[in-house]
């Protein structure tokens, strides 16, 4: 021992258990902060990867500019990639076909394929010479073509455009869903074949320029700068809101709400970490103060005591922070590995052993600062102890009781337990706050589950793998088509819908267009969870009734009668309920009414379907889908939605893993935190409990005392946590859900029950250890130690 500060490691060795508990709680807090922030970081990274793959790695698209202006923009140092891109017959309505199917003809530069879209080129090369084309992979399977083969695109005029295949690119969800092909030409070839062009400016070819900025900081500033310098209007610029949103660069109001919600959750996690450390360290104040009092007694100055405390706190951090961070990093690696396994097509680019630097830094800074602050207060108290108090053995009684316990109302053991919990106000505040924060965190994060369910449609039970669609959205698919599909063994469910689009209507004197859609039994059953008010039974059984789908501009209420104008005839439909959501998007200012098939037939006279949706059994192969495709009348569009679904499933897995990961983590932290806090609180009173036993308190009574103390923290923390947790839940629900979907907030009772149950179970587990410790404790040793 060369320096008085060397006492710290020696003392730590002797007070191993006490040090271990302090280290454990710091580890927990570091783990919580690192893992939650790390998970959020990895979640955003994975979503950026997916967004880049799904909608391209571009930030803005500019339309209606001249080639000269495009060249100027492309040469700007803040622009990394700037490529033209145009598409002809995107919606399949212009009459360009390849092998009898609609074909979308795209024109772009090579960098668009290699840098804006990565991993799109499956085989071969981008068209290097004139009349070469990249073709989507589905053509390879359906048309049986290979690289070097000629293909001929038929124009609406009946002419043939001949190309040689230079390579194949991946199918896109829209190509598969639209049952069409896609080909990519270089920009010159594309412009050559574009019809009816007079001026020759990019806009005449439907060309937009896609820009990727060199770095993703302050993109909004760069856009504003670009607009000003190049005289661009708001209408000329479109943003890739999905990607910008994930990069934290979006100005879309809904995403701003999401950022705000993330900020609230961020603050809550930080607070939870801080509270956990502060409450745990505060619990063992008594023992540590005694030790520092002794130091004062043998001649240490208050400054030296403070230095000792700082050294002790830092020595805990030296071990606890790396351990907490390591566990957090490993947990994130495991989650990323699971994600790669679940959805390799999107997340294979996720690093195997990635580090989230912001989360590690957050873990270190938050905990170091908290530990030093939390340790500072007992140290200050210890430094104030007069050496006389310490030498007379009264250092331990630094905080004498302020008033006597109330033994009138409750039994003595329970009264003392409650008194112990309430004796030190700061301790009570920190303990209950740390319990309450766990509950608040759980209730706050549980909103994200609801958010996930609203955002991701494949989660909806009605999501179809295949859709057979009447070509002009008319009611043209006969019921026999549905029956034959139902008999196919790979078809799990098949159900049809009839549509009448944009029917003029009048309700309460207000004119509005309505989409009228029919449901059958399955779809009504699925709609049950979305019924905001009214009756599903009435709409199924009573002819002439319907449900209105919620829309923020909607004024139609349950009980209103909507007059629909069908081919000049007025047909009335009575609204018997409101649905919060439905699987269809209506055009702007168009409402949606859902009715039964019979009502639809009665109102419109149509008995055939517009759409038949098919859900396949698990593991259905492409060949089996091909057989179904052959079954269906070729005049109908055969939309294969599996690819789009798998993309959303990727997002879903990602959301699911991280959101439930957060919740499990919070639950686990709650359990560990409570067990550790109670254990530390009991440890601080261990001597007193020994004395209690000496003066005749039985083990049963001591157990009751500890349980009463623990439940005092639980009840106060539970009440405060539930009240504030519900407040946060409502606030976040408003930001994330009501704002977008209009759902009314209801108290999340199952979630409240789950977290309170976790807390109560934790308390029951938490008191076992200390009770056992007291039982095994020698009374004689305890008394003689005083």
């Amino acid at each position: 021992m060369k320096h008085y500060l060397d006492l710290v490691p020696i003392s730590a060795k002797i007070h191993k258990k006490q040090s271990r508990m302090s280290i454990f709680c710091i580890v927990l807090a570091v783990f919580l902060v690192t893992t939650i922030f790390g998970m959020a970081d990895m979640f955003i990274r994975s979503q950026i990867l997916q967004a880049q793959q799904e909608s391209g790695n571009w930030h803005i698209a500019i339309r209606n500019i001249s080639n000269e202006k495009a060249a100027i923009i492309a040469s700007r140092p803040d622009i990394e990639v700037f490529s033209p891109y145009g598409v002809l017959n995107y919606r399949g309505n212009l009459g360009y076909t390849l092998g009898g199917k609609n074909v979308a003809i795209c024109g772009c530069d090579e960098r668009y394929i290699t840098e804006i879209w990565t991993d799109q080129l499956e085989e071969g090369v981008f068209p290097q010479t004139s009349n070469e084309a990249l073709v989507t992979e589905n053509a390879k399977q359906i048309m049986g073509v290979a690289i070097g083969d000629p293909i001929a695109v038929e124009t609406p005029d009946g002419d043939k455009l001949n190309f040689t295949i230079s390579g194949f690119m991946n199918n896109t969800a829209s190509i598969m869903s639209g049952d069409s092909y896609g080909i990519i030409l270089n920009t010159e070839d594309y412009c050559t074949i574009y019809p009816n062009v007079s001026d020759g400016e990019p806009n005449d070819y439907g060309i937009m320029f896609y820009a990727q900025f060199a770095n993703t900081r302050n993109i909004q500033g760069k856009i504003a700068d670009l607009k000003e310098q190049c005289n661009l209007s708001d209408e000329q610029i479109s943003s890739n809101n999905n990607l910008l949103g994930l990069l934290g660069q979006s100005r879309v109001p809904f995403l701003l709400q999401v950022y705000l919600a993330a900020a609230v959750l961020f603050v809550l996690v930080m607070l939870a970490g801080i509270m956990m450390i502060a409450s745990s360290l505060n619990s063992n104040v008594a023992q540590r103060t005694e030790f520092f009092g002794l130091m004062r007694c043998i001649g240490a100055t208050p400054k030296q005591v403070m230095r000792l405390v700082r050294k002790e706190a830092l020595s805990w951090c030296r071990l606890a922070i790396p351990v907490g961070i390591s566990i957090g990093v490993v947990v994130i690696w495991v989650l990323c590995a699971i994600l790669r396994f679940l959805s390799p097509e999107f997340f294979k680019a996720m690093p195997t052993f990635g580090f989230s630097v912001p989360s590690i830094l957050a873990g270190i800074v938050v905990d170091l600062v908290t530990v030093l602050f939390a340790a500072y207060s007992p140290a200050k108290k210890a430094a104030k102890v007069s050496p006389l108090a310490a030498v007379s053995g009264n250092a331990n009684d630094l905080e004498p009781a302020r008033n006597a316990a109330n033994t009138q109302l409750l039994k003595i053991d329970t009264a003392l337990g409650i008194y112990h919990a309430k004796a030190n106000r700061k301790n009570l505040f920190l303990m209950t706050s740390s319990f309450a924060l766990s509950i608040i965190l759980f209730l706050s994060f549980s909103v994200t589950v609801e958010f996930m369910q609203h955002t991701l449609t494949p989660l909806q039970p009605w999501t179809a793998d295949l859709s057979i669609i009447s070509p002009d959205n008319s009611c043209a698919i006969d019921k026999t088509e549905l029956d034959s599909l139902k008999e196919n063994p790979v078809v799990d469910l098949a159900y049809g819908r009839k549509f009448a689009y944009e029917v003029p209507s009048v309700t309460n004197g207000i004119e509005k267009k309505m989409d009228l859609i029919s449901y059958e039994q399955y779809q009504f059953d699925w709609a049950r969870d979305y019924l905001l008010e009214g009756s599903l039974e009435s709409v199924q059984t009573d002819l002439g009734t319907g449900l209105i789908v919620y829309n923020s501009q909607n004024t139609i209420q349950t009980g209103d009668t909507v007059s629909l104008n069908i081919d000049g005839q007025s047909e009335e439909i009575q609204i018997v309920g409101i649905l919060s959501n439905c699987p269809f998007y209506s055009a702007a200012d168009v409402g949606t009414i859902i009715c039964s098939e019979d009502t639809f037939e009665q109102i419109t006279g149509e008995s055939k379907y517009t759409v038949i949706d098919v859900q396949l059994v698990k593991g259905a192969t492409d060949e089996e889908v091909y057989v179904i495709r052959q079954m269906v009348d070729s005049s109908f569009t055969f939309a294969d939605e599996r690819m789009g679904n798998s993309s959303t499933m990727g997002t879903y897995y990602c959301f699911w893993l991280f959101i439930y990961g957060f919740l499990v983590l919070i639950a686990m932290i709650t359990i560990f935190n409570i067990i550790n806090s109670i254990s530390m609180s009991v440890s601080a009173r261990l001597k007193q409990y020994g004395a209690f036993r000496a003066i005749g308190v039985s083990m049963g009574q001591l157990s009751k005392m500890i349980v009463a103390e623990a439940f005092t923290y639980t009840i106060i923390g539970g009440v405060v946590g539930t009240v504030l947790g519900l407040f946060c839940n409502k606030l976040l629900f408003g930001m994330l859900i009501s704002y977008r979907w209009g759902d009314a907030w209801t108290p999340p009772l199952p979630e409240v029950a789950v977290i309170l149950l976790i807390v109560v179970i934790s308390i029951i587990l938490a008191v076992q250890g200390p009770i056992k410790r007291i039982r095994n404790m020698s009374i004689v040793d305890t008394i003689s130690a005083q």
Partner: protein, 233 residues
């Protein structure tokens, strides 16, 4: 007719620390009658506190028997023994062991409260008066002097009217005036309530007031008889 309240027979206590074996008590046997006030003297580490802790059921002997009011202490289960101790043995510690969260009155009533019994106000009043603490009944231990705290501890030992009171150096932390007061109180209790008292002390002046004196030396107990200051010196 005398009545035997405490009987100790062949009591042995051996501590083992690794290879080392320390015999703290070697076949100690003695008994005390009702109302007897006995003192145990001996050097530090002689085994007197071990003896008291074993009799008070705070520690378990290696072998031998202890009967308190004809009940074999160590044939009982832990919980049962604790309750028996609470009701029949009053303990007075050198460091008082008062409950800091309870006031004087509550501390005195504490053993009754532990038994979920309603204290008799007259009995509490009587003890407070005997101890001279009536004025301070609502004070917390931290507001009392050492002598007052020890008086509260004595009150707590007396409240259940135990048959046996064990006092481990009750005056160890007190000045001579307070020490004498404590001994006077204990003597009064012994006389007034016919309680048997076994007290450890270093202070040979205090043995003047007791009926019998034992000496413990290297774990062996010797009965020095009654009021024999000469023998002690």
């Amino acid at each position: 007719m005398t009545m035997e309240i405490l009987k100790v027979q062949d009591l042995c206590k051996t501590y083992r620390k690794g290879e080392a074996k320390v015999e703290a008590l070697k076949k100690v046997s003695f008994s005390l009658d009702k109302g007897e006030f006995a003192a145990v003297v001996g050097e530090s580490g002689s085994g007197k506190s071990t003896l008291l802790n074993c009799i008070g059921a705070l520690d378990t002997p290696t072998s031998g028997h202890i009967w308190v009011d004809e009940q074999d202490l160590f044939s009982m289960k832990e919980e049962q023994r604790t309750i028996f101790r609470r009701r029949n043995i009053g303990f007075i510690f050198q460091s008082f062991q008062l409950v800091s969260e309870l006031n004087v009155e509550q501390n005195i009533m504490f053993p009754l409260l532990l038994d979920y019994r309603k204290p008799d106000p007259a009995a509490v009043e009587e003890i407070l008066e005997l101890l001279g603490l009536t004025e301070r009944r609502h004070h917390l231990p931290s507001q009392l002097s050492g002598g007052q705290q020890q008086r509260v501890a004595i009150g707590r030992a007396l409240i259940t009217k135990p048959k046996l009171i064990l006092a481990d150096e009750p005056t160890g932390n007190l000045d001579s005036k307070n020490s004498q007061d404590v001994i006077t109180l204990l003597t009064q209790a012994s006389r007034r309530y016919q309680q048997t008292i076994l007290m450890i002390t270093h202070n040979k002046n205090l043995t003047a007031s007791v009926d019998r004196v034992f000496r413990v030396s290297d774990g062996v107990l010797t009965d020095l008889g009654g009021k024999t200051n000469e023998a002690l010196s």
